[in-house]
Symmetry: C2
């Protein structure tokens, strides 16, 4: 059973109760390039009360450094080391969990931010933003040389996805033995400023279908993302809350980590996902319509 | 229990037993642009014995007319009215089963052959080979105008698939009420001359994933394909055999139509699909390694 926040006291009590606030970004802080009204004041409120603020995003199109630029552009205060992205989680998974030898390579269906995080962990990447693979020219195996050093295929959101990349990734996954199949995240859609668009899960879907198997996912709700945070940040799970707009990623991620969870309705989840006959089995601790509602906790005397 | 053909008598008896021979093409007659040795002689044998020969293909990249060109190029005798493709089956499904009003339009993720067959049934198409949609430029909904006349999205194999086409199709399927979601076929892979590549089912996979629902499929093993043949060709199902390389499309298609079925091992299906612990539940009546084996039925005296 979720608690619906409504009175100024509800919001103040929640601010007092939790020391670490983890936020999803798209659909929570902004829609595409449009910030949600009130977000800056609420984040300022938390910082003024010495709360630890972290940004935990499945957006794998940007590196943490790139993502910091987005915060700057939208006028939201953030430090690079407060930002945890699924591109970074994927890089850490490959370097620290799988412990991919440095002589191996990774074939990427994804964008520059993903490549940057992988390279930051010392990983050699193929595909991705390489102009040779960003093409709609016909693909033929006659012109393709399998690189035996490719030991993993990583898929993130890629607005330059195409048949050449999918075909090359398919070759590596079927012909290089034990080649890892990894997706930054499974989000089926993502909320752009003007509406929903297919998400990163849709980019790995052709390979899932052609191979008949699912990738390992490193973003929320996977514990890999939490492992990355745990390695860098000290926090008390009992005094930490995860805020998100998506039940099967954000809220489940918080629950998997033993955190409190707050669902906002500015993104993917809608009323019928949390009440009525088709409600999700994933139940957040708290619900409010928007992060902006926390403005009610700002003391006008201060 | 399947019968393995091996002796010259086995092949001669089968030729005598069936009057109508339906052939899958890729993986049965050829691999990509390379004909399988012996195919021409075997088809000549069947024609010399006054057998009816039909070509039933899930390849939706070509119209029947285009496909005739492929037969010509490879030196295989065929008439356009002997060729049944999933692009044609899709067009007939839209015009005759759904009875799409002529004022409606169809958004296509697919190639020129699919557009040609749809247009041949009087359907107005968007997307497909339109250069405006064959792009890797970023897609944004800000520059997109939803056409309310689009009443169906059709996906076939499209080597120019991209994020713009998938995003536009996603808009039509989520925002135009009752928009039909149709795939020419569900083949996960297809056998090119140099090896397997992702098939048409992989092209519709991003939309399946983003929408959380499956398309209607019109190619083999769907009965839509058989309805198209039934509307044009008279044959006795008891004296008809379907020859294919894929259990879950070709052989199932034959079984659904009450035809005898012959599996060849020159394409997708391999020995472990038909024997042993992981054998498919779809069991063909007959098995032979290649169509070329039927050369054993050619009487050297003739």
């Amino acid at each position: 059973m979720s608690v619906r926040l409504s009175t100024p006291q509800d919001y103040s009590r929640l601010v007092d109760k939790y020391d670490t606030w983890m936020f999803d970004c798209d659909g929570v802080l902004w829609h595409g390039d449009r910030i949600i009204d009130g977000v800056v004041e609420v984040l300022d409120l938390l910082r003024s009360k010495k709360k630890k603020v972290l940004f935990v995003t499945n957006n794998a199109t940007k590196s943490r450094k790139n993502y910091k630029g987005k915060f700057d552009k939208l006028g939201v205060q953030a430090h690079v080391d407060e930002i945890y992205g699924s591109a970074y989680a994927t890089a850490v998974y490959l370097s620290s969990v799988i412990k991919l030898p440095k002589t191996n390579k990774v074939y990427v269906i994804g964008m520059a931010g993903l490549e940057e995080e992988l390279q930051g962990e010392g990983i050699t990447v193929l595909g991705g933003s390489d102009p040779a693979d960003c093409t709609l020219e016909p693909f033929t195996l006659a012109n393709f040389t399998l690189d035996p050093a490719v030991a993993a295929v990583v898929c993130g959101l890629d607005t330059q996805m195409n048949y050449t990349k999918i075909s090359k990734a398919f070759q590596y996954l079927t012909r290089n033995s034990d080649c890892h199949f990894i997706a930054t995240n499974e989000d089926s859609t993502y909320p752009s400023a003007e509406g929903l668009l297919p998400g990163a899960g849709s980019i790995s879907a052709p390979l899932r279908y052609a191979l008949g198997r699912d990738p390992i996912c490193t973003g929320k709700p996977s514990s890999t993302m939490l492992d990355c945070i745990n390695a860098k940040v000290h926090y008390n799970p009992e005094r930490t809350i995860m805020v998100g707009d998506r039940l099967n990623t954000d809220i489940l991620f918080g629950q998997n980590g033993g955190l409190a969870t707050l669902l906002v309705l500015t993104g993917i989840a809608v009323e019928s996902d949390i009440t009525g006959p088709n409600a999700s089995p994933i139940v957040p601790n708290f619900i409010t319509s928007s992060i902006a509602d926390f403005r009610a906790a700002i003391d006008p005397q201060q």
